[in-house]
Point group: D2
Chain length 243, copies 4
């Protein structure tokens, strides 16, 4: 069964900053989609959407036809409508997978699913990031070296205010000595969420082959394992089992 | 240091249903507060508040002076204002403990902290509930038998749509054969959350000595272990550690 | 890639108890192997081995050619040699999957991998067991109802002295009111372990279609996600990363 | 109730290496015991024992009178008798707390309780270690800065072959860029285990005030929360609950 992947991107840096447009000529979403396509091949059908698309690219019809959504956002988190945030959350709880990338830690859908502030330390200073695997049995870590070496990156550091992840797959260090839980999984309702921090508009990280592999692994992992629930939030129901 | 406990209760069933008022002459909050006081003694100073108090009993001043909040609500979840929900959440993330009781699983603050729908199965049918300890090292389980026997209770059953708890302390069974993760802990930000399901307006469960003991243990466990953060949600901040 | 599955069984009850031999004419291993084969089909090649085979069916050559080992034992746990126990443990740590069934909770390999006593409550009294899914996103729970109904079973109850599982997939209740964490996953080294309690020599549980499906799902889940480490336990090694 | 703490040390480096004896004139155990005593004061009564004491300092009588055991070992792991290893494990499962320090990751009792190889990467190269708090609600992290700065230390790096910890409290980085899960908790039976990696015979780490505070916090946390089980491993027992 072909996995239906939707790569969503805010898509604003590319429009206003020539350096970003040069770095990502097809948009950040284009680079992410290319990486997923190159890794998963026929196993996935990859579409893209951005904030400036009709319905912000997050219509009911679109999400109902999506198995796994990847999300990149940064400067326009607040522009995503509350209705769209609730729609994304509802579909995740119903079974849609979600791969949340980098600055998406502070997006409204991620904060709504985590329940915490999702704050962290950060610094834009050309740090070298090393991404170490701490769960070598995890399929998301398959096929990448430990550590993954990213020559230049924005620093993200602890304390990262998230619930304790269900699985901790990667931990990063930075030139400055900071550490970060950079690859985390969470189950929410019938859906699976993978957060992966490497990647920034200011660095060509989404062209890095190991980063692309991890994102593709994350998409494959987040694919629903059980049939999708109806897109409504289920309500409490009476059940008798006295037979 | 004396623990400042606030026992919050919606307080509506007691006003409209004589059977509930008979069962809980001091209100459900009164019974819960009495149990905590009897167990923790001088270690705690217990206050009560209800939905019909000024500011719904949840003013900034009140919460700033609270170490651990216990919450009971049922029919009036929707009346709690969004501002108050956000205030409770903010204080939990800043370090205030929260003990969420029974039908509070569907309260707005709990859903906001969990990120999931928090739905479950239920049936009001005089089931016997047995509450089994599955983590005997946990201080919340200290001093109670396994199982705790509750002769008559509302049934709560799986699937309980919560994130996987950080610690699973109790699992219950019911006459009908259902099971429920009835005692669960969660860390959120700098705060600790304990959910405990036994207890209902329709049964005298908050007079049960073992249930009272568990709630008091939960309050002691949820007490902040580190100094309270300022009540604002912390923001991302730049940190350099290149010394 | 075809999954190489080895279904290991102590194989003694079948030889000495006619009722067991009647219930499982191909042996308990035969029933388990048939269920895996029926579910996984071409995806798996299933072999069987028993305690009375040469080398107790656990030679280095055999385990080196096994992706996932399923284990059933009961009355002869002590006869498994310490060398074989250590060999199984070593292969699991190197990446071989392990599906531990029912009374295997008290087998030497399971105790060696858990580090705890692995004791539990039990009663042989024709209880009805209901197996409830508490993690509906887990592939091991795919395709089975919640609850699975087993009309007659041995009771296994808490406290089950295991480390907190990495994932809790199933919780069972019994006629007597007991509860049990009946489906648990654990990562150990590069290997994955799934413990599943339903199944006993005294009941025809391994013919139950839902139980067979869960065991097959468990085998598929426990398959190595990354290349197998050499079968030696790795040693501490010096690593420089000052480049 | 006064906490009975036993600080156990292999005690060999101090006898053969003058530099270690100079660094720790009262032995490594003496420095650890002094730190615990200074922090916990009247709340604890601290005794010491070493490998060369009668019965290796681990007699039944001694352990039966110990609430929390701290352990340091390195070059003589293999000299600890199997009987003593089993005795320590049995007491931990019965409820005795265990604080395992640094190279104790490779001690026999730790490996027996974890079930894994407990291997890691290491390098003795005067790295700066930064110990970051990733669980600020945890009492073990109370009263120490994040990060703790240790100017010179042996490097311990991932992959650390342990089961996923129940709670991850600290993550360290090193000058070389490596990361390590340096503060981890585990429940085993009725006992609690805290592993904390900072500390080495070659560096004066056990005189560091923050390290001393963490160890004392760990001892307080590992104290039994429920009455001690008898020192035998419990066996499966029949329980009826059909009343």
């Amino acid at each position: 069964m072909v996995l239906r992947v939707l790569v969503w991107n805010e898509g604003r840096h590319e429009k206003t900053e020539p350096a970003v447009a040069d770095r990502y000529p097809e948009g950040i979403h284009g680079a992410i989609a290319a990486g997923i396509g190159a890794t998963l091949g026929d196993r996935a059908r990859v579409a893209v959407a951005t904030l400036d698309d009709p319905g912000q690219g997050l219509t009911e019809e679109t999400l109902a036809a999506t198995d796994v959504l990847t999300w990149w956002g940064h400067q326009a988190h607040d522009e995503v409508t509350d209705d769209n945030v609730e729609r994304v959350r509802r579909h995740v709880l119903a079974g849609m997978g979600l791969v949340m990338l980098h600055s998406g830690h502070f997006s409204k859908p991620f904060k709504a699913l985590m329940g915490t502030s999702c704050t962290l330390r950060w610094r834009d200073g050309d740090d070298r990031e090393l991404v170490w695997t701490v769960d070598p049995t995890h399929p998301i870590a398959a096929g990448v070296p430990s550590p993954i070496v990213i020559d230049a990156q924005e620093m993200y550091g602890e304390f990262f205010d998230i619930p304790a992840p269900d699985e901790l797959v990667f931990v990063s260090s930075f030139t400055g000595g900071e550490v970060f839980r950079s690859g985390c999984t969470f189950r929410r309702g019938h859906g699976r969420v993978f957060y992966f921090s490497p990647g920034d508009q200011g660095y060509p990280v989404y062209h890095h082959p190991d980063v692309r592999r991890v994102i593709a692994n994350g998409v494959a992992w987040a694919a629903p394992a059980v049939p999708r629930r109806p897109p409504e939030i289920s309500r409490a129901e009476t059940g008798w089992f006295l037979g």
